[in-house]
Structure formats: structure tokens, C-alpha cells
Symmetry: C2
Subunit: 587 residues, 2 copies
């Protein structure tokens, strides 16, 4: 089983030194969320993740969730752990105190999401979608529904799901067939089949609240006729107590490559009673409230799994002797593999990506809170645009990098990485879902390029690039070489962006064929920007914590020398057009 | 279950049109191996792989090989299939007629290796190491041992293994602890533990012939005291019949991420009787005879798995509708995903890599045969040097690309790619061993850079680059843009090679930290070279098979525009030195 120590020091560094978004710091309700409080939370979070949840990863992989006589049973240990997890209030961390939550900002809950992803992604998924459902209900449902459902979800007694996908529609929700028939009491009868429903059924909570998209019988075809419904597994009585079973059955659960502790369900809705949430025919837009926040969390999953893969690679490299280094001082026998240049390179690659991503994510958490909670409309909108821009980037880049990092971890472990004992191959299998679900990474890339670069508020990407440029204008000698590198790639990104803008006019397939490369370049630049902000503090505050900051500076150095240059190839390949791709005749 | 159609047309194209190595064509014994004969073989090979062996992949994954009361049992169907497979003579394809083989060159058996890898890697491994053992015994053992063991191995009644790895030594064989104690009759008693032994025990053959490296009691420490022994599972009587069980037991079998139908064994040798093969203390060099040929076959495994992943991605993309394309003509509903630019790009990426690799492999097969069988010493040596140079490249590049391609196949399949039903995730898991075994890809990169670029015969890499340059000097207009691209990257590779040569003097860690990138660049260039040779025929012979050649030209176009530019980033990152990597203080 892999070991895990939550990176509390690095998280507290970000919270203490990089919580410098002026707008974020103006949000009244977070002024009390100070360093001491957060440190206490993270220390407790570390404990539960390291001790209670980490062992569930192996248990869930070896004893996958099963469907038995129509009942979904989670792996051994899940129930007990979930009880402790909810008793300790971890499901309520980021929720509104009005409904029993602790009201922590994403600058804090994001760290918890990372730790939980490191410990056990399968276990995490049982509460993760609850938060999605919570957000969606909170933003779009009536007060009656909110009061009835939210406190139980916040408490973790009930969980939530997002029911979008159907057999013929995943990416393309306009094709959906699930029907909603309005009743005389303004409820709806929902009928249809949903597939790939994460935590669609299980034995951890008393009730499961499904958020289902469906088409009302008088709604038009396509995406413009989709509405959103709250459909509980058990109906809820007036007094809030659990009532009769609703018309939902679990058809099957998927047998998957990884996240085997998570129940991925086929759900059959057969005249299940549901309640419309938000305006009729605007269901997709309501659903995307939760979907977008959820996509960032999926990125964080990739980060969390990367972190535990790195930690175990590092410790293995310190224990395993194999081969002599170029300038070995060993007189008999091999050197530790951490002394080999190629292994060091691989470890630094992991570390520089992980720490850069964590800093980028922290930056994004501040922006997200501003977008949700700043009193000024315009400031909220500006932040919201940046969050929209970065959401597909974080989702895709962090999950793709998660594959690279877990794969490199396997290589460092050699044959032991491929066998089950060390648990490294499980990290690789578990993470492999993250580039697929919540919209494949190619869907993210198309979303970025076709919908996020500019919107009704203007040219978002150029505003972002100007912001990066401005924030990198730092008068510290040590930072200059880093900024020079970044500025060069900012220039590349600007040229690429113009190329995209031109393509949008009459060469849209050029843009489609380039969008994955564009996303990767933007991700690499955004991470470099996050590193520059880390470096600024590291140089300014150097004398106060020399070892820590020297580590940061050297890690950043690796990122700028060995990771950032990936941009060159992406740019060159992507801008060769698409005629030869579109005209190709596949046999 | 994935479908598979053996790419016989592409293989026959290579055999008919690119079998143009003058030295290869001078090998007397292969002059009878003509197009008709090979076509017949490939058609039969396609049948057995498509119909009999392909279904074993799923069976082996769902019912892994088990160890039961000391006996290893292969998955359901393996025994029956193995019988048919040996009855039809497929184990003997490349073996010497003197021992009952069919004497086919690697230009033919390589195609069979690819098909078998596509159909079921787990099943393949039971006979693959037999060929390795066959080669090793044939080159190094006494006539007595050869006559006693080879015919049974060729026939497939007995199988073979390579027993190298021990708990503390994988990459670093000098650390091995297995002992060999000489007996008065010149046999040895072998004692020790070997791990990760592929096909180390199973129920498919009457006997298993282990080739074991061990240290004779009077041999020195380190790699210079290692000898090679033939150690049969059952002793063999004078008349060739099976005798008593030898002192070998199976301690356990590994539970692995993939290739679950293959038995990966811990073998305990307890005074097992063995026979020394080749000179005492020269065991590693004898073992490397088989190891090097085996490494090329591992590369071919990656190619074979890539091919089946591509075929299934292509057919899925033609069946699955999702989303509208940029210039959709569909009036209601979605377009087939094969019409989307990004999916087309992904498919062409796979195809252009696969077909380039297959052509490179065919080129290498001819060189290998020249190195083994040409009557002229000098020509043999020159070919051998090129084979040595390309062996780590083919092993690493093809297996890494296999991961990229099986991963892209999962992305194309979306959620269905991650579930067990379609079998795509199994390809990904099965292929994941290939960058690890037979020396990790990093070990290959170090081998390439530190041992293969130059040797006692001089500067091999420059000879190779000159050969590529000379062969690309083709006076055909259509080829010019391709050659121009390649020449630019040949120049990059030359500069990188000089940089490596300089580093070898006093910056060896720079070289170590750059070797993976160097291997990748050389692989990309070698594949481009193979493509140029394909293009030469395609342009010259265009009128005779327009559709086929147009497909080749357009596929090559993709490779040169979108794949080859990966070189830029590798070169830039790799040549930044290693001081900042070596001086880093890992916590």
C-alpha cells in the first residue's frame, strides 16, 4: 500500500503567502478564515486522510463495489469510515452555515479535495457529487426544496448524483431521451435510462438525491428542451422523514479499469417522481453550475493522485539500490537510484509540475470565490470569466499530467510498479478515469477554444495574458531569467491565439485540430505564471526560510528548463492546418 | 472484445516492395522465401490469430493464471489453443530446419510476432521466451545439449524461460546471489531465487527449460562472475524422455495490472541440476544474445497492441455519433465522430506512427538477418552494429507509443473505453508492461547513449546518420518537402550527438539526464527514414495502386507535420545540462 503524508507545509505556504488576491481579501465572510484556523483544519484533515481513508483505497480495489439482489454494497470498511467522515463534519466543510455547513472557502476546501484524492479517489466520489448537487440545488431550487434537502446533504446523511449521460448521449446531451411528464400537482414523472452515474446507488447514506436532466413532454428537441429535476431515491415526507421508494432501480454497475470502490451505475427511472429545478428548458445551464465547479475538482483529483505517486516514488528511490552512478563513490555494490541523473530528472519533473499546479489551483480558488462572493458585480464577472477560461485547462492538464506522473512512478518502481503489491499501478488505473469523465479532455479543449477565449464580455484570453504579463513585471534580479523564458512563451501563445481567431472565421477545422495543443500550451503558461508568483515570495522572503525557498527556486528552475519547452513542439505541430486531416480517406 | 483483422496487405507491401537491402538479398537460404510463400503464411497466420487466439485475450484477463497446490494453471482455452498452435507449427516458424524448424527469416516471423501481439500478448509470452531460449542454446550450447533440447523446443512440446532477475537485482545483474556448485560429473547444483520469470511455470508443455544466470562458487563478484546454465523443470533422460522432477518449485505468481493470462513466477531453485552453457563467467554475454533479439520483439509487442487499438478506434469512430462538426450537413442529430477534426487527428496520429514503425521494423529485420547470416564478416559486423544501435530505440519507442496509442484509443471510446466491456482498457493495461520488462525504457536509453553510439568498430551513430542522409537523396519532386523536413531534424540530431560526445568526457550526468530525450529523437528520425523509403516506392509505383499509395503519402504527410516536430521540445529541454538536477536536495 502506498504511504501518504499530506503536504500541509506547502498548502500553508500558499495560504499564508499567496493569498494575495485583493478582491478575495475583500470578501467579508472569509476575513475570519485565518492562518491558525486553516492550519488546525489541515492538520485534522491530514489525520483522517492518512489514517482512516488511505487504507480504503486498497480495500476498494480488491473488493469492488457489487450489485447484489438489487442492492449496491460498498467495499469493506467504507461504511464505518463514511460514518466517521460525516460525524467529523467533512462533508460540510465548504457548505453554507445556513444549512449546517462550515462555510470554508475553496482556498481551504480545495486542499481537502486534494488530500482526499490522494487517499482514495473511489471513496471521495461518494461525497464529491453531493457537493455538486448541493451547489446546484442551492443556486437553482425553490426555498422549499432547499430547506428540505440541503441540511441532510450537508450533514452527509443523504448524498447526491448528477444524471446526465445516456447510452447514445455523453458529450452530446441534445440527444437525450429521458422524459418528464408533468402531473397535476406540478411534480413530474421521470422515465428513462441513465448510465455512468457515479455513486448512483450505494449503502452509505439513507437517501440519494439524483439531479436528472430530462425532456418535458412539451419541450423542443435538442439542447433547448432540457430541464433539470430533483429525483430522490426515497421520497421525502412533509416532515423531512424518509418515505416510500421512488421509481428508480439500479440496472447494473460497471466493471471498470480502476476506481473499483466507486459505484458507477446504470439507473432506470420508471415514472419516478421528480421536482423541476430552475426554469423549464434551461436545465443544461443549471446543471453546468455544478458541472464547472466539478471540473475543477476533477483537476484536483489528478493533482492529488500525482502527489501520492510522487511521494512513493521518492521514498522508493531512496531505498532501492541499482546500478552505479557516473561518478559513483560506492566501492562495492550499487548506488541508490535517487543518485542517478535520469531518476532525479523524473522526480523533479513530477515535483515541479505538482507544486506548480497546486499554486495555480490556489490562484484559481481565490478567483472562484471572488466570482461567487464579491459584492461588486463587475469584479465578480471578471473573476468568473477567468474561472471559465481556466476550468477546462485545470481539468485537462492536471489529469493528463496525473497520467504522466503515475506512469513515471511505475517506471521508477520497475517490475514492482506493475504488480499489485506496491499499489502504484492502482494509482495509474484510478487516475485514468479523470481525463475521461466530466467531459473528456478533448471536449474540454474544444470548450476552451470555441467558448472560453472570448465571450459577451470581450476577449477573455487577452485580458488573462495581459494580467500574466503585468504580474510578471517584477523587479527582482533572481526572477529575471524565469520571466524572460515565460515572456517568450507568452509571445508564442499570443501568436497562437491570433492564429485561432483568424481560423474561427473560415477555418474552424484548423482550430478543432489545434485545440488540444492550445490547451496544453495555455496550461503550461498558466503553471509558469503560478510559479512566478511563488518565486516572487521565495526571493522576497528568502532569509526567513532559506531551505524551503531554495527548494522552491530550484524546483521552478527545473520547470522552466525542462517542462515549459514542451510548448515549442505543440505550437509547431498545431499550426500546420487541417486540410490534410479533413481530406484523408479512412478505409 | 476488440475485433482484429491482420494487416496482411501492409505487410505484403513491405515484403514485396521494401525488401531492398542488397546484403539481405544475397543470403542464399532466403532466396526461396518468395512473395507467394510468404503470402500463404501470412494468410494462415491471420486466420489463427483472428479466430483462435484473439478470444484468449479476454479469457486470460477474466480468469488469470493461478497457482494451485504448487501447480500453475493457465486460463480456460489456453491448453487447447496451444496444442493447435504447435500442431500447426507456429512455434517453429523462425527455427533452423536442422532442428525441425521452418527456417523463415525475421522479415516474415516479425510479422507473425506482430499479429500474435495484437491477438493476445499473454498467450504469446508462453512461446516467445522459448524462441529466446532456442537462440541462446543454439548459439552457445554443446552439440549434445542442442540435439537433446532444441527439437522439442522447436516443436513446442517444451518451452523456455530466461531467469535473470532476483529480489535485489533487476537492472543491475552484478548483484545476483544465485549459486552454482560444480559436481564431479561437470553438472552444477543451482540454488537461489529468481523473480518476475515470465512463463516460469505453466501447464501448456511437458517440460520447461530454464536458462538461468548464476555465480559458480569459485567465480568473482560482480558481472564478471556470472555464468549461464540450462536447468530443466524435469530432468531429461539419455533417450530424450522426461525423467524426474528437478529441484525447482514455484513460490508464487504475481498479481499484475495486465497480461493476467501470463504466469509471472517466483522460482525457487534448490540444488537443481543444471548444465553450463557457453564459457564460464561469460554468462551475461551469452544471455544478451537472446536478450537483444528479445528486446526487438518487445518493441513489436507494442506495435501489435497499437495496431489492434487503432483498428477498434477507427471502427468505433465510424459507428458512434456525437456532436455536430464545424460544417455539419446533418439536419437532425449528431455526426459520426470520425468526421470531427480532433478525432481524425488522433486516428491519423496512431496510423502514421504504426505504419512508420512497421516499416522501420521491416528495415531492421533485414539488417538483423544480414548480421546473422551474411557470408561476409565485415558486412555482418556492420549490420550488427546498426541492429545494436536500433534495438533499444525500437524497444522503447514502440512500447511508449503503444501507451500513447492505447490511451488515445480509450479517449476515443470515452466512458466505454474505461469499462471492461469493449476490451480497450485491457490493451492499455497489457501494453503497460512493455516499457518495463526486458530492461525499462530508461535502461534502454542509457544503453543506447553509453554503449551503442560508438563501439570498437568506430562511430556507429554517424555511420547511421550518413546512411539515412544518403538514402534520402532521392530525385523525386513529391518527396522533396518530406526530405527537407527530415534533413532539418537530422541536423538537430547531429548537433545533439556532438553535445553527447562532449558530455561523455566530463559531464556524464548531462548525458544521463538527456538520454531518454536522445532516444526519442533518434526513434522519430528513424521512423521518418522508414517513411521516406515507403514514400519512394509510393511515388515511383503510384500508377499501379493509386489508392494504396495515396493513403501512404497522406499518412506520411501527417507524420512529418504533426509527429516529427516533437523533436524540438526534446532537444531544447535535454540540452539544458544537469547541474541543477544533480545538486537538488530532495527532502
Amino acid at each position: 500500500m502506498p504511504n501518504y503524508t499530506a503536504p500541509v507545509e506547502d498548502m500553508m505556504f500558499l495560504f499564508d503567502k499567496l493569498r494575495n488576491n485583493k478582491n478575495y481579501n475583500e470578501i467579508e465572510k472569509y476575513k475570519e478564515v485565518n492562518s491558525e484556523l486553516v492550519k488546525d483544519i489541515l492538520v485534522e484533515a491530514a489525520k483522517i486522510n492518512e489514517n482512516l481513508i488511505l487504507p480504503l483505497a486498497k480495500s476498494g480495489d480488491e473488493n469492488p463495489t457489487i450489485l447484489e439482489n438489487g442492492v449496491v454494497r460498498t467495499p469493506p470498511g467504507y461504511k464505518e469510515a463514511y460514518k466517521k467522515y460525516t460525524d467529523d463534519g467533512w462533508t460540510s466543510l465548504s457548505c453554507d452555515p445556513k444549512y449546517g455547513g462550515q462555510g470554508m472557502p475553496k482556498t481551504v476546501s480545495g486542499f481537502f479535495d486534494e488530500m482526499l484524492s490522494s487517499a482514495s479517489l473511489s471513496f471521495k466520489l461518494y461525497s464529491e457529487l453531493s457537493i455538486g448537487a448541493y451547489n446546484c440545488i442551492k443556486h437553482h431550487a425553490t426555498d422549499e426544496l432547499k430547506n428540505k434537502y440541503l441540511p441532510k446533504i450537508v450533514e452527509g446523511k443523504w448524498s447526491g448524483t448528477m444524471c446526465l449521460t445516456e447510452p447514445v448521449c455523453g458529450t452530446d446531451l441534445g440527444l437525450l431521451k429521458t422524459k418528464a411528464l408533468e402531473q397535476s400537482d406540478a411534480t413530474y414523472k421521470i422515465s428513462g435510462q441513465k448510465i455512468f452515474i457515479t455513486s448512483g446507488d450505494h449503502d452509505l447514506t439513507e437517501n440519494i438525491i439524483h439531479l436528472v436532466i430530462a425532456r418535458a413532454s412539451d419541450s423542443p428537441a435538442g439542447t433547448k428542451g432540457i430541464s433539470l429535476f430533483l429525483v430522490p431515491k426515497f421520497k421525502v415526507n412533509e416532515d423531512g422523514s424518509i418515505g416510500q421508494r421512488n421509481g428508480i432501480s439500479t440496472g447494473s454497475i460497471e466493471s471498470k479499469m480502476g476506481i473499483k470502490g466507486s459505484a458507477t451505475c446504470v439507473l432506470n427511472f420508471d415514472e419516478a417522481i421528480g421536482y423541476m429545478i430552475g426554469p423549464k428548458n434551461k436545465g443544461l445551464s443549471s446543471m453546468f453550475t455544478m458541472m464547472n465547479l466539478e471540473r475543477i475538482v476533477v483537476g484536483i483529483q489528478g493533482l492529488g493522485i500525482s502527489e501520492i505517486a510522487y511521494q512513493n516514488s521518492l521514498s522508493y528511490a531512496k531505498e532501492r539500490k541499482q546500478g552505479k552512478t557516473n561518478y559513483s563513490k560506492s566501492e562495492n555494490g550499487a548506488d541508490y537510484i535517487i543518485e542517478h541523473a535520469d531518476i532525479r530528472k523524473s522526480l523533479l519533473n513530477m515535483k515541479s509540475i505538482i507544486e506548480g499546479e497546486r499554486a495555480l489551483c490556489f490562484w484559481l480558488s481565490q478567483q472562484t470565490e471572488v466570482s461567487l462572493n464579491h459584492p461588486n458585480n463587475e469584479i465578480r464577472q471578471e473573476a468568473s470569466d477567468l474561472v471559465s477560461l481556466m476550468t477546462p485547462v485545470v481539468k485537462s492538464m492536471f489529469t493528463d499530467m496525473g497520467m504522466e506522473i503515475t506512469s513515471d512512478a511505475m517506471q521508477i518502481h520497475g517490475g514492482y510498479g506493475y504488480t499489485k503489491d506496491q499499489g502504484i499501478e492502482q494509482l495509474y488505473r484510478d487516475n485514468r478515469i479523470t481525463p475521461i469523465y466530466e467531459g473528456t479532455n478533448s471536449v474540454q479543449a474544444a470548450d476552451l477554444v470555441f467558448r472560453k477565449l472570448s465571450n459577451k464580455n470581450g476577449n477573455i484570453i487577452n485580458k488573462y495574458l495581459d494580467l500574466v504579463k503585468a504580474e510578471c513585471n517584477i523587479d527582482i534580479d533572481g526572477i529575471k531569467p524565469f520571466v524572460d523564458d515565460l515572456n517568450k512563451y507568452l509571445e508564442t501563445l499570443k501568436i497562437f491565439t491570433s492564429w485561432i481567431e483568424i481560423g474561427m472565421k473560415d477555418k474552424k477545422d484548423d482550430v478543432s485540430a489545434a485545440c488540444n495543443d492550445y490547451l496544453k500550451i495555455l496550461g503550461l503558461v498558466a503553471t509558469a505564471h503560478a510559479w512566478i508568483k511563488v518565486l516572487e515570495v521565495s526571493f522576497q522572503d528568502y532569509e526567513n526560510n532559506k531551505d524551503f525557498y531554495e527548494d522552491k527556486i530550484q524546483t521552478a528552475h527545473f520547470y522552466f528548463k525542462r517542462v515549459l519547452p514542451r510548448i515549442d513542439s505543440h505550437f509547431k505541430a498545431a499550426t500546420t492546418g487541417s486540410d490534410y486531416i479533413m481530406n484523408f480517406k479512412f478505409n
